[in-house]
């Protein structure tokens, strides 16, 4: 199996953390962010995992889920729910916030964009009785959410309302060596600055208006 990642790409943090945490054997190949790895996609898409069958996984959460599954950790309904939330509810405002914060210097607006999903996470963590999102052990859900939020939550000056539970959970997950080294490999300790090159090449995130209509 071969995992393709590129430096400064925020989506690579979660897959690198998942590889290290699960111990699944795969070659890690660092490529340029413009490299076409997945033959059937017209735009470069990283990270990507080349499966033994020759098929590619090109959606980061699907890669993480696969790594956990082959290491023998079945993904529960609750974890599934967090992965879907991350993809549909967190990623769109997150990409917008990264864009605003890293490229436009609008840190305060970025925090405002993230307030909704972050307070949802805060309320959910408040209600749960376990150390991590779905159990006493770290699951794929913790890794995926931790990595997604890393560029913002690793910055102690980031303010978006009362996030006591979120911060405590973020700290707990971040103590894992797998998480620390994945973040270091992608962001090189430079925070948002490290993501600029990647973000500049992405289309300006589609701003989702309330009650936005589907495209036709």
């Amino acid at each position: 199996m071969k995992l393709f990642v590129s430096e400064g790409n925020p989506h690579c943090v979660k897959v690198l953390a998942a590889v290290e945490l699960t111990g699944v054997k795969c070659d890690i190949s660092h490529v340029n962010q413009d490299e076409q790895v997945v033959p059937h996609l017209s735009r470069p898409s990283l990270p990507a995992l080349l499966l033994p069958s020759g098929l590619h996984l090109f959606i980061p959460n699907a890669i993480c889920r696969y790594l956990f599954e082959v290491s023998g950790q079945e993904v529960s309904d609750q974890s599934n729910q967090w992965l879907e939330w991350e993809g549909t509810e967190l990623q769109p405002p997150l990409m917008q916030a990264l864009h605003m914060s890293a490229l436009q210097g609008k840190g305060a607006e970025a925090a405002g964009t993230l307030q909704g999903p972050l307070s949802f996470l805060e309320r959910s963590l408040n209600k749960r009785a376990t150390q991590f999102l779905t159990s006493e052990e770290v699951t794929v859900a913790d890794i995926v959410l931790w990595a997604a939020l890393y560029p913002f939550l690793s910055d102690s000056s980031f303010m978006a309302g009362d996030l006591g539970q979120v911060r405590a959970w973020f700290e707990r997950v971040g103590q894992l060596e797998a998480c620390r080294s994945a973040a270091q490999a992608v962001l090189k300790g430079k925070g948002l600055e490290a993501l600029k090159g990647y973000l500049q090449k992405q289309p300006v995130p589609h701003i989702q208006h309330r009650g936005a209509q589907p495209c036709n």
């Binding site: 499966l51 696969y66 309904d77 879907e84 549909t88 495209c215």
Partner: protein, 173 residues
């Protein structure tokens, strides 16, 4: 919309007693209510749960690899296909057409939940596609036609004529 999909899925899975659903937020995300446990939120999460409940694990893929591919297309459906900006539709069709070139179904040779949900999601795009566009994306059209004729899948959606040849060939038999 998502609720109709879930009700069609329940029927095609042969689940006897219908579940209770509600929706959440502006985007009307489906929520499955449960008497004996926490509720579940999200189309993919609920659909996956229903398949397990119906004891049809093969619909989620029969190997770890196939399961990963199925989950990937389920996530693709809700993150890329749903609410895609108009100018993205071309790229999506082009990419899918390329992907489906050597495949019968989304996850290879067998029908899975990825076919059902991708079919439900792409139906509204196919409705508006001109004949030439359908011909240009022949692999997508072939797959779409295959899935809409797959037993028990179509339910709430109208049948679309996507392959002109289908009509002509049926006359020769």
């Amino acid at each position: 919309m998502a609720l109709r999909e879930l009700s069609s899925l329940e029927k095609s899975l042969g689940l006897k007693k219908p579940n209770k659903y509600s929706t959440q937020g502006d985007k009307k995300v489906p929520v499955l209510q449960s008497n004996n446990g926490p509720s579940l939120t999200g189309l993919v999460t609920i659909a996956t749960h229903l398949v397990r409940e119906a004891n049809r694990p093969e619909l989620l893929g029969s190997t770890a690899e196939q399961r990963a591919v199925v989950q990937q297309w389920l996530e693709y459906r809700v993150t890329k296909l749903d609410n895609c900006p108009k100018e993205e539709i071309k790229t999506i069709l082009q990419d899918l057409n390329q992907y489906l070139e050597d495949k019968v179904y989304m996850a290879g040779d067998t029908f899975t939940l990825a076919d059902t949900l991708m079919y439900y999601g792409i139906h509204r795009i196919m409705v508006d596609l001109a004949v030439q566009e359908k011909e240009k994306h022949a692999n997508v059209s072939r797959w779409f036609d295959h899935v809409q004729h797959y037993p028990g899948v179509r339910h709430h959606l109208p049948l679309l004529v996507v392959l002109r040849n289908r009509l002509y060939t049926s006359g020769h038999h």
